[in-house]
């Protein structure tokens, strides 16, 4: 349904005075999403995972330049097509209730989302009623203002905004941080249900545990590249292909809680070779010569020359 290949995004920023510099924030991202599956995008802050969402929705800032191929339902996703499709065929579940208009009742806002996606006023009203009922939101919730709904309800309202659009692709950007574990679990379950209803879901998160609860496949991002695409089952089974994904798994407190030292390379001065090279225990001369390509391995993908089946 969605296929992204070799996506690159560069920002032009002002340094001091009139001098400008180039920031390569996304170097080489590849990802595909099929109807009916949840693909989790996992990475640290600064790995480019939120920018991916912005690119898909066509809301990158003016000083960004985009390269590479993105196609949605078989056709290239141009900036014009992004504008046409966002809110209709591609929907975003925002991170928090603060994305809603604080001065407008939530029911109206969700209804407006449905209308903007093409439904008539009457249709929109019934859709909203049905959706709220499905998420156990009492009828009175629709008449409340965003500050009046509790954390758990707020999440369900935010999920509703995506559901009423009939969007085929739903992007959820960091839906869990700051939530009580039970509410987080419930929110994730709603995303799972969206996929079971035949939609494609991209779950953007820094939290592997959350991702593994519902994802079919997990794409691990590092410094603006896809370093690995693995089945969710590969994590607990120890079948991970890339040293960074292995490190992420090992660093979980319930596992070994041991980190790899160092930090992501700066987008201003990326190394010539493998972007993970300076932190990798297996680094060799070949890695530092040129950036390894993303290659298929054991029904997954990996960007590492050392990975073996």
């Amino acid at each position: 349904m969605l296929s992204i290949s070799q996506l690159a995004i560069r920002f032009t920023q002002y340094d001091r005075g009139l001098r400008r510099k180039q920031l390569q924030v996304i170097t080489d991202l590849s990802l595909s999403v099929e109807a009916g599956e949840v693909v989790a995008v996992v990475g640290s802050s600064g790995s480019g995972k939120s920018l991916l969402a912005h690119a898909l929705l066509g809301i990158l800032p003016d000083n960004a330049q985009q390269q590479g191929q993105v196609s949605f339902l078989g056709e290239p996703l141009t900036p014009e097509r992004c504008r046409q499709l966002r809110g209709k065929a591609i929907a975003l579940i925002p991170q928090s209730i603060s994305s809603l208009d604080p001065l407008m009742q939530v029911g109206h806002q969700v209804q407006r989302v449905a209308q903007l996606a093409g439904a008539s006023q009457a249709e929109a009203r019934t859709t909203v009623g049905r959706t709220f009922a499905r998420y156990d939101l009492p009828k009175s919730t629709g008449d409340r203002y965003p500050f009046q709904v509790s954390g758990g309800m707020a999440r369900r309202v935010l999920v509703s905004t995506a559901v009423v659009t009939q969007a085929q692709l739903v992007i959820a950007d960091e839906p869990t941080p700051g939530l009580h574990p039970d509410v987080a679990k419930e929110t994730l379950q709603h995303l799972r249900e969206l996929a079971q209803g035949g939609r494609g879901v991209i779950l953007i998160t820094h939290d592997i545990e959350a991702a593994l609860q519902i994802a079919d496949r997990v794409a691990v991002f590092y410094a603006g590249t896809t370093v690995e695409i693995a089945a969710a089952a590969d994590f607990p089974a120890g079948n991970l292909r890339h040293p960074y994904s292995q490190a992420l798994w090992r660093a979980l407190p319930q596992n070994e809680f041991i980190p790899v030292p160092g930090s992501q390379p700066s987008p201003e001065a990326l190394p010539r070779g493998c972007l993970f090279g300076d932190r990798c225990p297996q680094v060799s001369e070949v890695c530092q010569m040129e950036r390894p390509p993303l290659r298929p391995l054991n029904q997954g993908w990996v960007r590492c020359v050392h990975a073996e089946g």
Partner: protein, 199 residues
């Protein structure tokens, strides 16, 4: 010894009490989890302990003396959102110098690169900023550290890296830790005992 005795706190005269008759004691070098359902005042209690808020009743005493009202506070609080903890108009270097400058070993252990120091906060990622916010309070003057969802926004690797440095520092300097986290696995990894709020 950090002791809180019969703390009462509410945000306004007509609002309900958030903290009711809370008493606790934490020894130097101890690692304690603060546990309560959400919305039951964990963050409020940590702000009271670090002197950001004043209790309406009760006292907080460090080694049987009240907290100093000015100068460097020996009890430091680390927040969840590092981008709010650093002045957005300052270069990183300036923010690091706001407190006694942390040792180069601490900076290196946290993976802070010299290149970051001349940048502005919006040019760094959340994980990088949190390392800086933590480096700032890892100085010998800190006796107790309160981590309020300190790594909730960070990936597993950065979380483990930051905790490794903090735990090592705490052990070396006998710093007491108070940890708030929704992750039971993390609390289980770090803490020796738990204090349930209201209990």
């Amino acid at each position: 010894m950090l002791k809180a005795n019969g703390l009462w706190f509410r945000y306004g005269r007509r609002l309900p009490w958030v903290i009711e008759n809370q008493t606790l004691a934490i020894a130097p070098g101890e690692r304690v989890a603060l546990v309560a359902p959400s919305g039951r005042g964990k963050t409020t209690l940590s702000k009271l302990l670090a002197g950001y808020l004043q209790p309406q009743q009760g006292q907080i005493r460090l080694d049987d003396r009240p907290l100093p009202s000015q100068g460097y506070c020996p009890i430091q609080l680390i927040f969840q959102h590092p981008e709010l903890a650093i002045n957005p108009r300052w270069r990183i270097d300036q923010s690091l110098n706001e407190a006694p400058r942390p040792s180069p070993e601490i900076l290196a252990a946290l993976g802070i690169q010299p290149g970051w120091l001349q940048r502005y906060p919006h040019e760094l990622s959340g994980g990088e900023l949190q390392r800086l916010a933590i480096a700032r309070v890892l100085t010998p003057a800190t006796r107790y550290l309160i981590a309020d969802e300190m790594t909730a926004m960070l990936d597993a690797n950065t979380q483990a890296l930051i905790w490794q440095v903090v735990l090592e520092f705490a052990q070396e300097h006998g710093v007491g830790l108070v940890v708030i986290s929704h992750s039971e696995a993390l609390l289980g990894r770090i803490c020796e005992r738990a204090i349930a709020l209201g209990g």
